[in-house]
């Protein structure tokens, strides 16, 4: 019974996090689950990975997204599609007050504090900030998985460490 429900739910909607992947026309989503160990009667974390169809490149690495299974498999790998980006990564909005948050403080408060102390030009300005992704592939190498460098190729891959 419970298994049926779980399977039905899996077909309906899933909440997961986008993780870096090498595939160009698919996004990889990690869905965290808990699995019961019957001997210990304890739950342990178990991750499931789904490759999702995302033609508009809606989600970026780290975003929390809702995914839904496709009526028909698109390829051997791609079984789901990205429905909606629920929480963009590193750009958190407080659900109660609808204000932007950085860590445990409102961004407003941070700005206000800087103004009281005497704001300098060198500080970061949220209003002038560019949307996420302008450093991707230039100085921020997080959209693809990194790996240990194993060979000297002609072209130097920045994702090789």
């Amino acid at each position: 019974m419970s298994r049926n429900i779980a399977e039905a739910a899996r077909k309906f909607l899933l909440l997961g996090q986008c993780v870096p992947t090498v595939k160009q026309n698919a996004t990889k989503i990690r869905v965290k689950r808990l699995e019961l160990d019957e001997n210990l009667l304890m739950y342990f974390r178990k991750d499931e990975f789904y490759y999702c169809h995302d033609p508009d490149q809606k989600c970026k690495t780290g975003d929390i997204v809702l995914i839904q299974s496709l009526p028909r498999k698109l390829t051997k790998l791609i079984t789901h599609e990205v429905k909606e980006v629920v929480y963009p990564f590193g750009d958190i909005t407080d659900p109660i007050t609808n204000k932007k948050v950085a860590k445990e403080r409102y961004r407003e408060d941070i700005e206000k504090e800087a103004e009281i102390y005497g704001k300098l030009k060198s500080g970061f300005d949220y209003n002038k900030a560019l949307p996420r992704g302008w450093q991707d592939g230039k100085k921020d190498f997080t959209s693809k998985p990194t790996y240990t460098k194993f060979h000297v190729f002609d072209e130097n891959d920045p994702y090789a460490i």
């Binding site: 990564f89 300098l120 970061f124 997080t142 060979h151």
Partner: protein, 273 residues
């Protein structure tokens, strides 16, 4: 007995190489080096006659003779004062307000300044073990702080990378020791993948080259069927749309084929050169 003899004569240990690939082991780069730590620039340019912060504001030094100024400059006071100026320079790039020195960006800036100073030391004295340890710890700490900043404020993270001229690479899934066996396996896999891709591309080219003649034939056949049907006063099954569709397809194919042949010609010219 015999087996022991054969193994001693013919060494059969190691990986059997089925494909002719030469593996080049990447050269060891110490972790403090710029390419490993992610710093894209060296120490900021600070003039040798700069005065440390403590003396910079005093009135006595302002109208002091040149020789006194020289004694109180960084050149004379030593490396420690110079490093303090480096840190101050980097912090000033990202400071929110005058009293800001414990937020994430200023901490990262300070650590970056310290790292760059130590990198300079390591270049001069590569056997300085204490500096080596410290710089390693600081690099790890900075990476951790950047990771956290990325999690709660992505826009600021990207801005900070630009300001401090840093590079951020995420941790790999697993860190493992480099081995010949594993590397060869990966290279072989890549080689196989290449072969597969080339074969598929060749087959695709072959099929596409056959498309044009077939479409021509189809067009002729359709026209012939239509004319016959009209002549014999039979119900006409081939519509104008069918013929138009085939004509369009043929036109598309011609354009694609031309582009392909031009590319092939270019390649040939490059090879000849």
């Amino acid at each position: 007995m015999l087996r022991r003899l054969t193994t001693s004569i013919i060494p059969s240990r190691g990986v059997k190489q089925l494909v002719n690939i030469k593996w080049v082991r990447p050269e060891y780069v110490p972790a403090y080096k710029q390419e490993r730590s992610g710093d894209l620039e060296a120490l900021p340019k600070i003039p040798t006659n700069a005065v440390p912060e403590v003396y910079a504001l005093t009135d006595e030094l302002k109208d002091a003779p040149e020789s006194v100024k020289k004694i109180f400059s960084v050149e004379h006071l030593g490396k420690k004062e110079y490093n303090a100026l480096v840190k101050k320079e980097l912090i000033n790039r990202v400071r929110r307000h005058q009293y800001d020195d414990n937020t994430a960006e200023t901490r990262i800036a300070r650590i970056t300044g310290h790292i760059r100073c130590l990198q300079d030391t390591m270049e001069k004295f590569p056997r300085n073990v204490k500096a080596k340890q410290t710089v390693q710890e600081l690099i790890d700490k900075r990476k951790k702080l950047l990771k956290f900043l990325r999690q709660y404020d992505y826009k600021k993270f990207e801005w900070l990378l630009e300001k401090l001229n840093l590079e951020y690479k995420a941790h790999p899934e697993t860190y493992y020791k480099l081995s010949r066996k594993e590397s060869l396996r990966k290279l072989t896999e890549m080689h196989c993948e290449d072969i597969r891709r080339n074969k598929l591309a060749d087959y695709r080219n072959l099929l596409e080259s056959q498309q044009g003649p077939f479409l021509k034939q189809k067009l002729e056949a359709l026209k012939f069927i239509k004319s016959e049907q009209i002549e014999l006063q039979l119900p006409v099954t081939v519509s104008e749309q069918d013929i138009k569709k085939v004509e369009e397809q043929l036109e598309d194919w011609r354009i694609k084929d031309e582009i392909k042949q031009q590319a092939r010609k270019k390649k040939r010219n490059i090879l000849l050169d």
